[in-house]
Chain length 417, copies 4
């Protein structure tokens, strides 16, 4: 037996076991360990106190589901070589390794690079450290591996990522209605003509999965108070950038200040992946704690705008938020800014940081390459929209868009929160 065999307790699945040395080594790597200090759901814990779970736990959880999926598929006669098995495990294990502080929340605010781009860069760096052992994982991840269904297990509308995060986020938020029949769905997985499919018996579970996912969107991921917190956070980072670019020297965690002093793009990251002291390492050195601690430092900034915004976040005096099926008029938003301006004595531009508007969009299902296919006993294979009696195409195609505006609670607008 290898010394590296390890069993880890996980409240969602009971136990996770790690058998392969390379899997163990990847998990032990500092670039992976940093995800212990990155919350899976960003500021959601301000609304759901239990949701402090880390992206680290999600990545291990997704690995666990991948192992079960491989075992089910093999038991149905789908041939998966040991190298492919290890590759697809490493691909799912690392699928989120590029996330920065507070996961999605900081994505557009720290640097304008999609986390999947960063994930690939991290994977490549690890691959060179581990002497090419991640080659298969990378090709599965970026869909260049010949067997497409392996990529679909990592990234599609029924991938192990989604199955884990829906279950896990439901577990830690306590929104028990989001629970998905993960075990049953995985038991129903199959492969037909190199496409990941679901056995006929799993139709109702898939319907339930789609509806649960939608519920989680509106009840958790797009929860209006979470949106309000996110917008407050964006305003903080925006103000910090404004101050820095106007020559103010802000205190705080150096790598964070550095990122906010520049506007890095994906190409900046790619051009520097070799240097020891590079941009990728700098990015990797920032986690939730650095951002929060820096914001607490800024509570004592000379700039009243930054100070006020930071106080609001740290003391959880979150903005009020209104949500509507129709957009809020420019005038209405302007009037709120006026009120804020009046109350705080800030300029119009400054007040704009206290009143944010935007839209929330969710579609239950996407008609693209990642569709969910149902496999009948007859061998016929159709999209879930055709297989389901109830969730037909018009239902699934529907995109729900809502509009929000958030503003300081102290304005005492007649809110429907």
């Amino acid at each position: 037996m290898t010394n590296k065999r390890k069993i880890i307790n996980d409240p969602v699945y009971g136990f996770l076991s790690i058998e392969d040395d390379i899997v163990f080594d990847v998990i032990s790597h500092p670039l992976f360990q940093r995800q212990r200090n990155i919350k899976q759901l960003g500021f959601t814990y301000l609304v759901y106190p239990g949701a402090t779970h880390s992206r680290f736990s999600h990545m291990l959880g997704a690995l666990n589901l991948m192992k079960r999926a491989i075992s089910v598929l093999r038991s149905k006669g789908v041939e998966i070589s040991d190298a492919e098995s290890l590759g697809v495990q490493l691909a799912i294990l690392l699928h989120d390794v590029g996330h920065g502080p507070f996961s999605h929340t900081s994505e557009r605010a720290l640097c304008n690079v999609h986390h999947e781009t960063l994930t690939l860069l991290f994977m490549q760096r690890l691959n060179s450290e581990f002497g090419g052992q991640l080659d298969t994982a990378i090709s599965i991840f970026n869909d260049s591996y010949p067997r497409h269904f392996l990529h679909q297990l990592v990234s599609s509308q029924l991938d192990m990522d989604r199955l884990d995060y829906l279950g896990r986020d439901s577990f830690f938020t306590g929104v028990s209605e989001g629970i998905v029949g993960t075990e049953r769905i995985i038991n129903m997985l199959n492969v037909k003509d190199d496409v990941l499919v679901v056995d006929e018996k799993g139709i109702y579970s898939i319907e339930k999965f789609i509806i649960s996912r939608r519920l989680m969107y509106w009840q958790v991921y797009l929860h209006k108070t979470v949106i309000a917190a996110d917008n407050l956070f964006y305003s903080i980072l925006k103000r910090a950038r404004q101050l820095i670019s106007s020559g103010v020297a802000l205190e705080g965690y150096a790598p964070l200040i550095h990122l906010l002093s520049n506007q890095y793009s994906a190409s900046d990251f790619m051009s520097q992946t070799v240097a020891a002291d590079d941009l990728l390492s700098l990015f990797a050195s920032i986690d939730d704690s650095d951002v929060m601690s820096t914001i607490k430092v800024w509570m004592h900034s000379d700039d009243a705008v930054l100070r006020t915004l930071c106080e609001h976040l740290v003391e959880r005096r979150l903005p009020a938020i209104k949500v509507s099926d129709t957009p809020f008029g420019e005038e209405y938003v302007a009037s709120l800014r006026g009120l804020a301006s009046q109350q705080y004595g800030f300029t119009d531009d400054e007040s704009a940081l206290f009143v944010n508007s935007g839209q929330l969009v969710n579609h239950a299902y996407t008609f693209d390459d990642s569709q969910i296919k149902i496999l009948y006993k007859s061998g016929r294979c159709v999209d879930i929209s055709q297989a389901s009696d109830q969730l037909d195409r018009p239902f699934l195609e529907k995109t729900v868009t809502k509009y929000f505006v958030c503003y300081p609670k102290s304005l005492h607008i007649n809110s429907c929160s």
Copy 2:
């Protein structure tokens, strides 16, 4: 404290507590205790081995939810007197007391009386035994009590009956996807203009409830193997009636034989509710064990048809079943009967008992008096079909109908089971 205060363990909710003497006395009554030996889901335990739970446990569970609902409504300022509280508790406690063996399964086969009619008769008998203490409960149950929302708590599309049975059946079958956010839904209940409503925040939970209920229908209540078992059971009782009416003296539990020797209607039951030795008592004396034991006796009947049918049920050699979106043609069914006839050497009429066809119908939601209303903060109150972004009227109105035919597995038809 009364000596009758009692705490009962329940695997679904943890603990059920009984505080009122009359509630304790009703539960202790033999007419209530008999439900301990009646399975909540009839022959479903032949498919889901865990589903051996009794109607007794469901009735206590629904009582438990009712108490929570009362407490939530009172905390929101809905006035409910102690007498009303007790009345609605007794109404839900007794709402299923009229069920016979195997719950719904035997309903059409033993005597042609709906279980709600029998429930009312049982309630009236108990009421006279308990000196009128069930007056309020009965008027709430039959909707003659002035405050309509109390009836809705007992019987509507969001009543405590449904909330308990969906959760309980999901728990015992192990079909975890059927889990409903019971606690959240109850927390969202409210009353507006004497109508039971759901607070705006509960919309997604209601959507989820409707979808889960549908899933439970197709995955459990109308599971094709359960349908096959039910049809086998009907054939047994039908054959027994045929034999008795042709003069054969069948052995077995006397009250059961008596019911099968007659065709009682609701009026027969009503005309005899006073006599000690009446039809209602006779009906009440039959539970699952009597039916099963009698069927085991019939395994040794002189009649080969009855014998064979009973063997099939007892040894769980259930019929094969095909389900289709379109009806099976007369000819096809006839051909199956022909094959059965050939195999067993029975007459055509006899073989008809081995080949049953029929339809399975489910609608997600019913547009009638029992609709689910959503209450907005503004005070506006609309049907869930209007409040939901996704579950609109066309979706909810849809009725799904499927057709089935079942036949002995030994026929070796090319089945898609």
Copy 3:
């Protein structure tokens, strides 16, 4: 793929899967299917309404744990051949196949043969039907197979039987404190010198297991109201035997009446295992429903004693019961019988059936061949009583004995129930 691959929902573990044809065939056999109608915990459902689960579900559950144990042991380098794996699976699957109605409850009352003896007879019969495919299973079951640890997985103080029933009974009764870390314990299993052991890391789990088991004994298996119900049931069968032996012709399910008309011993069962219509088949034809239905018939017996006892059980007017650390004196029991005699107008002998006394014994742990061994990393292997800081030998050796007397509730003795 074989057509017989099957997935069964189980509320305790989620899913049970069956892959081998012989396992599927054994489960489908009528001698196995009959366990669907035998409650795992006898009359316990009169106290814990959820405890209606069948021995069938326990046997499948134990099979499921066995598969996990095999997989864990193999992953630790313990070599188990496919034949051994199948053998030990079949052994655990069938380990309780000899149980009669209400499991342990009827064991001493119907015929004086231990259920393990009957299990072996059933296994031998199945083995001859299945052409010797159970040879290995039988030798593992009766400990004649050379590798002893396989037998220990089936029968020892840490066998899969115990692990399943503690978890399952805890689940269905709702006594959540009985929950055992089944998954962790199985993960900690190992084999050293052909002895089943537990890895060092599992010490606390084993301590917890021993304490939980003890809790389940006093809170469930020896719950005083369950004991009262059991004693009432024994009195019923005893009275029935008395009447039959005195020439009274009792109605009821024929095989049950036959057993009560005779005093069969193990040798009677063994001498007849070949004939189609033998004693073993007769025994196998009786399940819970036949016993209950017959008792309901006896509610109308001419004998007032039998009638009264049966009414008490069916209407759940269970005896009152007193439990004490010291035995109840002969005189006290006699005085209770006198009171009962007075109240009912029965003779002394008859009244003795209404007043039962006896003792309840539990030891947390047994120092015999089935001890639980802890394996240290150093390779050292010691008994749990030495390995545990807290559960030392004096603690574990302690036998707790309590004394009970039960009597009709209507006697209105000053009881501490």
Copy 4:
């Protein structure tokens, strides 16, 4: 209805509801909100990835249990006035408000003041802000309120604190064996002669509670890898203090640096509770994120010792740890330090920071004022050690002491980890 009524999702209990304005206001206060960023179990999340839950969630959870306890006690006739009810709720809500970063872990390292002392100071400050509304809460907390059992609900061997943390820590670590029958225990609470007692029926639950607590100690709270992480953390803070006192200017979060530059005692805190900018506020401004972010800054310190220690923590290269029933000799520890000194090229004093030894102590139960009393139906009231058949005084009195030494993994000592 007040606008402040609020329902919060909690994964452990489902829902927490807040009804009283003062409770809502206390929870909203920044001194309370800061606990959102303090992990309940310090560095335990490095071993159990799910254990990222906050002290905030524990404090709300304990409040929830307190409400249930009050409701149970009132239903048993214990009179508790509304003011007392609110007082005891606020007392439990605030019982941990004095915790600093990483809860217990930092307690001895940041300043030498017990968290209960700080809690009282925080409560007093809040009380003056809220105009004396916490008077009753404070007197219950410090046991000066006349009715002693109220204090016992907040602080004793069966308080709501313990019941919540055992259940919650078990939930989030995934150590399911730690689960305690919280609901049952609360249902069994009673008061006799102003002492909190447990009804006789709860004996087995209490036994289980004591055993589970012990299991949680060894499996979680004193888990050896957690101890290793804690010791690494202490060494970091110790080194930081050394450097600061020798005149090195360390970067990092200012309030943290300030605390490490001084040796404050309880009297320092007490003397300054009035000033706005005082020591208590300074302490309150530090949470987990500031400590972690500062440690990450120190990874680039000029001091190689500090740098190395910080790298070990951040990259989770935790020390190896040996645990033994007997103390490790001075010589052995010195030899380990020698090895470390050799490997790193540090002085002996510096190396001492890499090799820590100490002891771990747990007693299952304490015989003091906080004992658990069992109330018999007869009215007699005895200690659990007398009431329990199995957990007698010698068992409960036993103190288990273990000894540990931890050292850099890279030393490659033959460890038994």
